[in-house]
Amino acid sequence: MILVLDSNRKNLELIDQLLSRGGYQVIKISNLEEADRIIEESSCIELALVDISGFGEAIWERCKRLHSLNIPFLIISPRYNPEIQRSGIKYGARGILPKPIIIKHFFRSIRDIIGANK
């Protein structure tokens, strides 16, 4: 199960389509409250994709929480930014994917963490 956190619904739809087609199960979340609930309740999250755009500084708290629960996560950043990269590493991200992400790279990064789709 892959948790996707993105404030842009179009992005969520698109990632859902792609991942579903790739055989992955997806939980789509667009706000922080819901994210908190799912992170705490769900035990089968294998990976989280976190698009930090639109969430402000509060997003790093969630990253910290994911890390503490041993849920691997990838940060999706608006563009290449060393500041974001530093924060990502600091809070335990497994990788940073600057937008626009090349679809091939996107899948490779996911496979590197959780293996091929089931």
Binding site: D6, N8, R9, K10, N11, E13, L14, I15, D51, S53, I76, P78, K99, P100, I101, I102, I103, F106
Partner: protein, 484 residues
């Protein structure tokens, strides 16, 4: 599965373009149509598809910019029947704009390409088109992440279409922002369309793999009937067997002056001041041709058709019955109506389809003033050469401004155009204004070296005996030779 065939010639639906392409496009190849906005790329593509429908082929129009409804509407205006043309409309829908939120996570190039590719593949697989027109390939540029990807994608797309049995025409909008050299390398043929204020619409072929083509720039027009191409006239490509016989004027004295008449396939310049009767002299040759059952055409630039008919009828040259009988055609050329190549194509039509044997241009000054574009004298030269090769006798009327005084045959440095040069000039004899006719040059035979008096009467042209007892005729003020 590949259904590659040996290339054969296929028509584009525009006869002038087929001529430039030496018989049409080669099938199962790809052709790039380049041009700025409004140069007729879509019109050319529709001609190509409509021709396919006419020949019972399956044809497909893939539109990525302009919606199908617009293309259909525009086609209606130019009288195109788009029935039988299958459309694949991939232009953006209005919903695209209305959707406020858009994605930013992946490149649109990657996301949009997939559904479009799928639709194209499905359509081509089910339709198996013989002809495909893509309007325009420029849009695909935005589906590629970089130029290498674009080149690879276009190549593979074109190959997919050709392997499925199609001849492909694809448009490209080029500009400083979007150069399209890459597409020119990929295509088997490149047709360039352009527009300039001074030259109008110009077409040229810069590449045609596996075939010869007519180089240079060819004017074209976007008319109510679509695109019309006027291939630049190359005289050496046209030749017809003919007997170089003399054609008489029917006026015995004039024929004596010319030692029998004018030879077929020669160009004669008839030069003289205003009102001397140059046009009438030309029409006289046509009247005699009509009696032999031959057809002639006059292109008039300066005066109206009715005025010319009345003038000729008044001096007993029956032009009206000649026109009715089909042995004469008088065509008025309006100022700025044609380029020299368009006129050349009209003349070709008269010669090749209606068997005209004498062609008269009245006048040279009118030709130069009325036609658009530069390089007029060399275009006229080409036209005369073509007519000569086809055995047509050409008469060019040249007006000189000088009425009296020392003689000057032509004022525009165009004497070299003529094989023969006939002049008519005013003379003052004993205080009376008279006219004389003479021959200065006749390339293929000898001619009478003396002048004769020339008069236009109600019964037609009257030419006197040789003026052997006058001297200084060319000065305009001749004197009687003493003792005569």
């Amino acid at each position: 599965m590949s259904v590659k065939q040996i290339p054969r010639r296929i028509f584009t639906g525009i006869s002038g373009l087929d001529e430039v392409l030496q018989g049409g496009l080669l099938s199962n190849r790809t052709y790039l149509i380049r041009g700025g906005p409004g140069t007729g790329k879509t019109t050319l593509g529709l001609h190509f598809l409509a021709q396919g429908v006419m020949e019972g082929e399956r044809v497909l129009c893939i539109t990525l910019g302009e919606p199908e409804s617009n293309i259909r509407q525009n086609a209606l205006w130019i009288g195109f029947n788009l029935e039988g043309i299958h459309f694949l409309d991939l232009s953006p829908t209005p919903e695209f704009f209305i959707e406020v939120e858009s994605y930013d996570i992946f490149s649109p190039a990657e996301i949009e390409r997939e559904p479009i590719t799928k639709k194209i593949v499905e359509t081509v697989a089910s339709l198996k088109p013989n002809r495909v027109f893509i309007d325009s390939m420029t849009q695909f540029r935005y589906f590629a992440t970089d130029s290498f990807q674009f080149r690879k994608q276009v190549l593979s797309f074109l190959r997919f279409l050709v392997d499925n049995g199609a001849t492909v025409m694809f448009a490209s909008e080029y500009g400083q922002e979007t150069p399209d050299e890459d597409l020119q390398f990929l295509a088997d043929g490149v047709i360039n369309l352009s527009y300039s204020h001074s030259e109008g619409y110009i077409l040229n072929v810069s590449k045609f793999r596996g075939s010869d083509f007519r180089g240079g720039f060819h004017p074209y027009k976007l008319t109510e009937e679509g695109m019309k191409v006027f291939p630049r006239l190359i005289p050496k490509e046209h030749r017809r067997e003919f007997e170089r016989e003399l054609i008489p004027s029917g006026v015995p004295e004039l024929d004596a002056l010319l030692h029998g008449g004018l030879e077929r396939g020669t160009t004669t310049i008839i030069t003289g001041a205003s009102g001397t009767g140059k046009t009438t002299l030309g029409i006289q040759f046509m009247s005699e041709a009509s009696r032999r059952g031959e057809r002639s055409v006059v292109y008039i630039f300066d005066e109206g058709v009715e005025s010319l008919i009345s003038r000729c009828e008044a001096i007993n040259i029956p032009v009206r019955s000649m026109i009715e009988g089909g042995s004469l055609s008088i065509v008025r050329i309006e100022p700025m109506q044609f380029t020299p190549d368009e006129l050349a194509n009209i003349v070709r039509c008269e010669v090749e389809e209606k068997s005209a044997r004498i062609v008269m241009l009245d006048s040279l000054a009118g030709y130069r003033l009325s036609l658009r574009g530069g390089d007029l004298v060399s275009r006229l030269h080409a036209l005369c050469k073509y007519l000569a090769n086809m055995g047509v006798t050409v008469l060019i009327i040249n007006e000189v401004e000088q009425i009296t005084g020392d003689f000057k045959a032509t004022e525009r440095g165009i004497s070299y155009l003529g094989d023969n040069l006939i002049f008519i000039r005013y003379l003052e004899i004993k205080g009376e204004l008279r006219k004389a006719i003479g021959v200065i040059k006749k390339r293929l035979s000898d001619f009478e070296k003396t002048l004769r008096e020339y008069e236009i009467t109600k019964d037609g042209i009257k030419i006197g005996e040789p003026l052997t007892n006058l001297r200084g005729i060319l000065t305009g003020k001749p004197e009687w030779v003493k003792g005569s």
